[in-house]
Symmetry: C2
Subunit: 661 residues, 2 copies
């Protein structure tokens, strides 16, 4: 198929000079956006996240093309482009999206221009971008499943066809490619596809042939970003049309597809978790760009309901394997916690949009929890294998079902949505760490590096140095500041933190007197280069309990330290399983940093005992007053590791929530 | 298609004179069987089960043909038989089995010759049997899905094709039809299909073209019964071949299909619950007929492991909606308990075979628990609607997913396996209640009626009168007995029962001195007609706790009374939901019989309180030492109803396990 002509100027992107914030991040607010904050420009230079990003850059992303090759995704595009023979492979109508998510990841990586982002990666991106362009049909349509298997059936199975879903990932990749490299080849493809979609979908009476929505939201938030990137208002309007058509039975009224109730009327999140979260990201984008107060209220209401009733302690979302759904309020099982890695990513993407829109710290509290726990567990420490589901418990005697929903790390999946999604989030991680507004700079997440904000055209920059999350000390040094204009350095005091100290020049505060409001420590000064702030967050390990309505963890505690949720793994507790262990809450928790273990982790050592359960025979239920008495068992030293690092040694049992009696 | 000639003599069945026990029950042991017990002949005359059976006979079974008509099952057969036009309907390759299960149910019903079993039902059976015969292919094959949609692809998708599964249900229906009516039309069809299967399947080197097994076990236990009915040893051998070919990777090695490990080596039940249980029923049949000690040991081992680690308190089996699977040991969730109605039925069928083989009472303990709870909840009190899944909890704010897996009763299912399965079990229920051996008569389940056993050719009969399960008194009167030969009347003392009294003539025992061994109260006498035994089981309501490894119910109790598990329903507790209720275990449980309620049930009234949970904001987890304190809430009277009767009034929440603090 002939390569389409460029519809976008091919000069380097003018994005970096826009007021919307970080030129190389996934969210750049439009000129009319009414957001409290805009993303700052952040460079991560060392420490915890730098290590994880380096593995992503050196291992995960470079392996992408080969994996996409062996799974068939790239060849599908070649067949469609007429440059290869063969049959459609990959099994699903959404396999093109894996290619696009990888392109997005690689594009964010290219933006950083580190040594490993050099020639080979750029060449891979260029090659695959060209392939995508070659596969596009002359009218802009592109979906290899339909082009190869369902020719003539475009948009006839919107519930399951994933055509707009794939378009959304293509658009996001194109925006990333343009923002990162200034090149327009992929953006041209995306624009052409978006124009095609805009010509097809609309309300009855609009003159568009189809009034419909995709069963998997994704194109909506992508279209808003395409509007932000191109300035073309039609894309924003199209996104708004799509978002508001959910909940009206166009997809049969299923909660799974977000079609049971309009978002504006919904009381809680429901249905397929990733679908719900991508849709909410789009709603937040729209509320930001259009000042739609009702949509904003819905997003705020649903975020609060979700966190209060449907979020696992890891930040993981989605309680059901079946349909990958949210469960009912407080239905938060451990063994069958679905907590899809993609849902964690979608949660971060949505919460960041909420943080920018509202300026409230709690959204970044959830992002922190999700990043360090429910998200990061999705990729192995070596960056080579993955978890699609992230349970909170693997039982002694677990029978692994295999396949995508295995609780064992897997090299790639039949439905390979999660790995490139992890790659794109890690490659753009700096985007989610800091923001600025007219009054100053806000540090949302603590990582060693540099944050540059924009005070109405005046840059301010702060250097951050920290051993977080292992150490609680965060040192900040002002590097750029206007000489005579006061501004506010805002530091998020994490929701989990009960004690801290902060030194700012000669002033020392602690939690009793620091100027903290709604989670933000606000330090307003006329700063000078070299000014230092040292924040010390107390990192005592703690035992956490759940709302009593979370039946699944009644009588249990979780060990946490700082932002990290801890777990026990069978491999650290030889001589028995984990399911007969009881934590002794009267004994102190000891912290031990273990540079040798799992790439270097701080462990929490606790004391427990093994139950002595008298064999009650064949029936495991008994009258309360005649149940076999449980005798005190042998004490056992318990070594808890950060949850994100589990499943990196050998198969076995794991649990986060520990019974206390 | 021409009706096949009869391959079986059409004279009335000689079954009733066989030594193998009840002529009209699903299990009749073969002449060489080595079982401890044989089924007795039981007539249910009044009481709890008589009511349930009457609803089955008057409502559920008669509605079957119309429902099978509207779902398309019957028309599929007509199309295949060349007497109707149209397309295959029903969506699944196993829809023929719904017809066969209904035929089995109707056949057992016909055997009882009660007024409602008269002309219309017999005519429906005759009509549908003729239709099945007309649909059979000349070589014996019959499966409308393959005949209509996959012509030429016979046995090429054994994992999902369900051809042998359907054959198994056809065979069971044919055996029932023959045993009940003496007619051979359906048995001819079954024999012809079985002979066809026997000509196709066998070990490599056997000269048979296919070495394979069906992804859904069922034909195996059916073939053993066909051997028992016809005396044709080939069917027993074929069943043995099939059972032993599971676990060798013929189906890809999946646990779901029982193909991960051979049954003889398995340590616990796993995979799809119904598949596992039907396979184990067949293994037990084979162990009974062939004295295969290894197979018997496997069945005993797996039964014990299943009950001890994978059975819900209702007797429900299968912890996962996804794949309808057993979970891991002690993974017994409440909200997402799958507990398919068919799995409860399969459990009863298997346990009964174990009871006959071993003579042990515990198998009938599980049958009782399952009958009164996990099974009976599957059908509404009016016999018109059904549950496919039987959760132990429906939360406040539950979002019903609809479809087959709804926790709301449904008129019929897309996958309609459960309703006719319930019908066939209720229609043959008397088969599971009593047995005899050379030494006497064993009463396994208590229902008003008459039990007739066979002591090496000499009949013994006992009349039973009881208000069980509402009352604990069971009166037994000897009606037939040899004059001068002592024999043992064995009464099962239920596993849940801790106190009882029994009067036998002038002798009175209680639990401290009664001759009870392994669950059987053994009363050996030289009996005379009119001799009476009165057994009084104490029915105090009790609070039940679970093995501490059942994490899902930590800190909770269940209310039970006799064989019944109780639950709370939202409709009985206005003014709030159920999920904030705490049971006060220090207050007594009151029993109240309510003839007005749910067809007449004994309720248990308890005292609880509603939690006052201080709103902790958006995050439902907190440090154990800083969590919002819970204050004592308002006392609330709790009305618990038998679990089997739930979901018969209005949609709402429900829970069995109640927190105690």
């Amino acid at each position: 198929m002939p390569r389409p002509r460029s519809a976008v100027p091919s000069s380097p992107s003018s994005a970096s000079s826009d007021a919307g914030g970080s030129p190389t991040g996934p969210v750049r607010l439009g000129p009319g956006a009414k957001a409290a904050l805009v993303p700052a420009t952040v460079e991560i230079r060392a420490g915890f996240w730098d290590t994880r990003r380096a593995v992503n850059a050196r291992t995960s992303i470079p392996q992408g093309p080969n994996l996409l090759e062996s799974a068939g995704n790239l060849n599908n595009l070649r067949i469609v482009a007429g440059i290869a023979e063969g049959e459609f492979r990959g099994g699903y109508p959404f396999v093109d999206s894996d290619v696009y998510k990888w392109l997005e990841a690689a594009s964010w990586q290219l933006a950083r221009r580190t040594p490993e982002d050099g020639g080979p990666l750029a060449a891979d991106v260029e090659r695959i971008v060209a392939l995508v362009a070659d596969a596009q049909q002359p009218d802009g349509y592109l979906n290899t499943w339909f082009q190869l298997l369902k020719s003539g059936e475009r948009y006839q199975d919107l519930r399951w066809g994933h055509e707009l879903y794939c378009a959304g990932h293509l658009i996001q990749a194109a925006v990333a490619h343009h923002r990162s490299t200034g090149r327009t080849e992929l953006l041209d493809v995306a624009v052409k596809f978006a124009d095609h979609i805009d010509s097809v979908f609309g309300l009855p009476g609009s003159g568009k042939p189809i009034d419909g929505i995709d069963g998997h939201p994704e194109v909506e938030t992508a279209l808003v970003e395409l509007y932000r990137e191109t300035g073309e208002r039609r894309y924003l309007d199209l996104a708004g049309y799509f978002v508001d058509r959910f909940g009206h039975g166009l997809l049969g009224g299923e909660a799974y597809c977000q079609d049971r109730v309009p978002l504006r009327e919904a009381a809680n999140v429901e249905g397929h978790a990733v679908r719900q979260l991508y849709l909410l990201a789009a709603a937040t984008d729209l509320a930001t760009e259009t000042e739609d107060a009702e949509l904003r209220a819905a997003a705020e209401r649903l975020w609060s309901a979700m966190t209060a009733t449907k979020t696992h302690v890891t930040g993981g979302l989605g309680a059901h394997h079946d349909e990958e759904d949210f469960g009912d309020p407080y239905e938060l099982p451990n063994e069958r916690a679905y907590c899809e890695t993609c849902a964690a990513i979608a949660s971060i993407q949505w919460s960041w949009r909420m943080a920018l829109l509202t300026g409230e710290a709690r959204y970044s509290d959830l992002i922190e929890r999700t990043l360090f726990n429910g998200f990061l567990a999705g990729v192995s420490l070596d960056g080579e294998s993955w978890l699609y589901v992230n349970p909170l418990q693997v039982r002694d005697g677990h029978t692994d079902p295999g396949g995508d929903q295995s609780a064992r790390r897997t090299r790639w999946f039949r439905c390979a949505c999660c790995p490139p999604n992890v790659m794109r989030l890690l490659a753009s991680l700096e985007h989610y760490l800091a923001s600025s507004d007219a009054g100053g700079l806000q540090i949302h997440q603590y990582a060693t590096g540099r944050c540059t904000g924009d005070l109405d055209g005046t840059p301010v920059a702060v250097r951050v140095e920290t051993g977080y999350p292992w150490q609680g000390t965060i040192g900040l040094t002002v590097e750029e500041t206007p000489a005579d204009r006061p501004w506010t350095l805002s530091l998020r005091i994490p929701q989990w933190c009960r004690e801290f100290r902060v030194r700012c020049g000669d002033t020392v505060y602690d939690q009793s007197d620091a100027p903290v409001r709604d989670g933000w420590l606000r330090l307003e000064r006329t700063w000078a280069p070299g000014d230092q702030v040292v924040l010390e967050l107390a990192l005592e390990p703690r035992l956490t309990v759940a709302d009593p309505r979370v039946d699944a963890v009644r009588g249990c505690v979780a060990i946490e330290r700082g932002p990290l949720v801890y777990c026990l793994e069978g491999v650290d507790h030889p001589g028995g399983g984990l399911d007969d262990i009881v934590l002794d809450t009267t004994r102190p928790l000891q912290v031990q940093h273990r540079p040798d273990l799992l790439g270097g982790v701080t462990t929490v050592v606790a004391t427990g005992r093994r139950r002595h359960i008298t064999d009650a025979g064949w029936w495991p239920y008994a009258s309360a007053d005649s149940a076999a008495p449980e005798t005190d068992g042998d004490p056992v030293e318990l070594t808890a590791i950060p949850y994100y690092a589990w499943a990196n040694r050998q198969d076995g049992s794991m649990r986060i929530w520990l019974p206390t009696s």
